[in-house]
């Protein structure tokens, strides 16, 4: 079975919620919708305090090419436009809406009817994605229409759909594949049409055999879509690693997948594209896994964007007494939240609660040069060296050692027997080196 060749780790899977059907989370009495839920320019707020909005209505419009619309996920009244601390820990502008009823825009098809015929042209699909606020739902939240627009001089001959879900605990993509397989495959066909490719591979790790066989049974009636099981290994969901595993093509350092004629989209994104293009439904809700070993009732939920995380925790049985950490995303790359009032955004794939005893880091000890960090680095870097260079402010040297190739998967910190904060220092070094490079370009 295929996998990527260099590095990787096997953290305990802990997919507690793999068997839990996706439920709809009750609409909260108020939502907080940040205007920047994607990589790129924040959208411009287009509503005022006191305005009445419906679910699906645009509340912030995209600004420039690398930006998407933001829609209201509920119906109600705009309470205020203010700042909120988001999952990154930084303050940013958000629209606060007090919920009244649940009224949707009439243009949205809310039925369960499966629409198979793709009426839009490639250009219309790409435009629709930007207008509907579609971003990469794997966690990186890069605007999808940008990835669907192949730059002049480049070509794309293959679409890869990321159903790997290699982060422990998370099961939102897994449940989507099981419960909305047809919708996903139509979404994939839409993406193929937009990219003008006739082949798509869906990569799924072999710990989701039910999803693999389910999609395999459906894929026969879709042209050009193949389901590819992959050996379980973290971080297989990383774009470059997934491309390498499926096609043996290696994205050169500092380049993008399109440089090897591939575009990668996530399973959740394919589903969102289906809803946007076929059902005219903008991205106003997503599947979120709420999980943790101490949580009474972990599960998977369709959650309206902007719902405070605490509502999700309440639905899962309430915050356990000894919670020490709330993580947005997976345990390997997710962010620790400052509180439970942080809103669910487009990039929230899961919320994980860690008990107190699992929340603290190990004390950092001396490096014993065991080379485990090197052997697990999927980019073939030397984390111990990059950390020590960053500690000593030797950033020019760190640049020569390719610190900017690091994708921050965390495998090095995960494996280090001395509990050294390798990735913390590599992040510091990487951001400094990137700043140095930008300054050089300006000069």
């Amino acid at each position: 079975m295929k996998t990527f060749p260099i590095g990787g780790v096997h953290p305990p899977e802990n997919k507690i919620t793999a068997g839990s059907k996706i439920q709809k989370l009750a609409v909260s009495e108020s939502v907080i919708i940040p205007v920047s839920q994607h990589i790129g320019a924040p959208a411009t707020v287009s509503v005022n305090k006191g305005d009445t909005v419906k679910a699906g209505q645009i509340i912030a419009t995209f600004k420039g090419f690398v930006s998407v619309n933001i829609h209201s996920s509920v119906s109600g009244k705009v309470n205020k436009i203010d700042t909120v601390i988001d999952s990154s820990g930084y303050k940013q502008t958000a629209v606060f809406i007090d919920v009244e009823g649940d009224e949707w825009l009439e243009t949205i098809d809310r039925t369960d009817e499966l629409k198979t015929e793709i009426r839009l042209s490639a250009e219309e699909i790409i435009k629709k994605c930007q207008e509907s606020g579609i971003v990469g739902l794997g966690g990186a939240t890069f605007p999808s229409h940008v990835k669907l627009t192949i730059p002049a001089g480049k070509k794309c001959d293959l679409l890869i759909i990321n159903g790997v879900e290699c982060e422990p605990y998370l099961t939102s993509d897994h449940r989507l594949m099981l419960e909305y397989g047809r919708e996903i495959l139509i979404g994939v066909s839409i993406l193929m049409k937009a990219l003008k490719v006739d082949r798509a591979l869906i990569g799924i790790e072999n710990n989701k055999t039910d999803a693999i066989s389910h999609l395999n049974s459906l894929a026969g009636s879709f042209k050009g879509i193949d389901i590819c099981p992959l050996k379980v290994k973290y971080p297989q969901g990383a774009e470059k690693q997934l491309i390498k595993a499926l096609t043996k093509r290696e994205v050169p350092s500092g380049r993008l997948p399109v440089d090897v004629n591939v575009v990668v989209h996530n399973i959740g994104t394919a589903f969102a594209v289906y809803e946007a293009v076929q059902k005219n439904k903008p991205l106003i809700e997503r599947v979120v896994t709420i999980t943790g070993k101490t949580l009474p009732a972990p599960g998977n939920y369709f959650v309206r964007i902007g719902t405070p995380v605490k509502k999700l925790i309440e639905a899962a049985g309430g915050l356990p007494e000894n919670t020490g950490k709330i993580i947005s995303g997976g345990p390997m790359m997710g962010k620790a939240l400052v509180n439970a009032d942080v809103p669910v955004v487009k990039g929230t794939s899961g919320i994980i609660l860690f008990p107190e005893e699992e929340s603290a880091r190990m004390e950092s000890q001396v490096c014993i040069r065991c080379a485990k960090c090197i052997s697990v680095c999927p980019m073939g870097l030397e984390p111990y060296l990059l950390m020590s260079l960053s500690q000593r402010d030797l950033f020019e040297r760190a640049e020569k050692e390719h610190i900017t190739d690091c994708m921050e998967c965390g495998s090095c910190s995960y494996i280090c027997p001395a509990g050294r904060p390798l990735l913390d220092y590599i992040r510091l070094g990487k951001s400094t080196v990137l700043r140095m490079i930008r300054e050089r370009v300006v000069k």
Binding site: G324, K325, A336, V366, S413, Y414
Partner: protein
């Protein structure tokens, strides 16, 4: 709910692997070799090992407490492993005072002067051993024969190691075919029934330890296999050229400290290279140097010297031999 949520950058999970677990893992992997040495050499093996471990721990404690005045880290297991390996590299009848001197050199000179665990360029146990070998050549090369224990552990019946027999014989111009009767059979050597350092004799016990460390992911196969492989290839070439002059690869691998060195000494984390490519070069370097010393040098055994010499190249190798980087081959245009 606790009052404060913990905030830290990702990753939020850890493998639960610790330095201490790795070090104790190495110690566990040495148990089979220890048991066989007790079986062959009696309580001499126990005395030597106990003195070595105790003095290594004591010296590390004293230096950290009274000279460096920093936190005591003798429970991390690294001094324990150094003590075990030092004991395994000496004859089982070595006088206690020599063991204590060797332990002092290993811990105080080879390890702590460079900054302690993680910073020493040379394998501490081997520095200690070579110091003892050069300072006390007689005691360090009087090898008790298996089962040759008399009343006290230092008055055991001693004999030469197979390597010394071969070296001496060839020097005197005897063909190997006539020396065969004086050396143990391959199966005796595999089981450890021969003279030698207390931990190096039983190939079978060392290989069990090797498999244990591979399964527990304490070490990878690269260094041990390249050491043994390069010795096998090099000695096979010599042996094919003239089997009367040069011993067989089987003999070279089973005799002396090749397996103990390849599996436990050359793989020492601190003093071995970081990238897989460098590890293979390092392993082959040890193998080739070992054979050169054994065949053309003045000592019958060369594993310790070979490892120490290659230790010296490790910083250079870490600087110039890099892991294969993902996306390195940038296409033109």
């Amino acid at each position: 709910m606790s009052n404060i949520l913990k905030i830290s950058p990702s990753p939020h999970s850890h493998s639960q692997e610790t330095t201490r677990k790795l070090m104790f893992g190495v110690a566990i992997a040495l148990i089979p070799a220890f048991l066989t040495s007790v079986f062959y050499f009696g309580y001499g093996a126990i005395i030597v090992t106990a003195v070595s471990v105790a003095s290594c721990l004591l010296f590390e404690y004293l230096i950290q407490k009274f000279i460096l005045k920093k936190t005591i880290s003798i429970t991390d297991g690294s001094a324990l492993v150094t003590g075990l390996l030092l004991a395994f590299n000496v004859p089982s009848n070595l006088p206690v005072f020599i063991i204590i001197i060797g332990s002092f050199i290993a811990i105080a000179v080879a390890k702590m002067t460079f900054g302690g665990l993680g910073n020493n360029p040379f394998n501490p146990a081997l520095v200690g051993r070579v110091f003892m070998l050069i300072s006390f050549p007689v005691q360090m090369t009087s090898w008790p024969v298996p089962g040759g224990l008399k009343t006290g552990y230092t008055d055991a019946v001693t004999g030469a190691t197979p390597l010394a027999i071969i070296k001496e014989g060839i020097k005197n111009g005897e063909p190997l075919s006539q020396l065969v009767s004086q050396i143990p059979t391959p199966s005796q050597m595999f089981l450890g029934d021969m003279g030698g350092s207390l931990g190096e004799v039983a190939a079978v016990a060392l290989i069990i330890g090797f498999i244990y460390m591979l399964v527990k992911k304490i070490i990878t196969w690269h260094i041990p296999v390249s050491v043994v492989g390069s010795i096998a290839v090099f000695t096979a070439i010599l042996w094919l050229i003239n089997p009367e002059q040069y011993a067989s690869p089987m003999f070279h691998i089973l005799a002396g400290g090749v397996l103990l060195g390849a599996i436990f000494m050359a793989t020492d984390y601190v003093t071995s290279p970081m990238s897989v490519r460098a590890q293979i070069i390092y392993g082959c370097g040890i193998g080739i140097l070992t054979v050169i010393i054994r065949v053309w040098g003045s000592y019958p055994e060369g594993v310790s010297f070979a490892i120490l010499i290659m230790n010296a190249f490790v910083p250079l190798m870490n600087t110039y031999i890099k892991p294969r980087r993902f996306g390195k081959e940038v296409k033109n245009g």
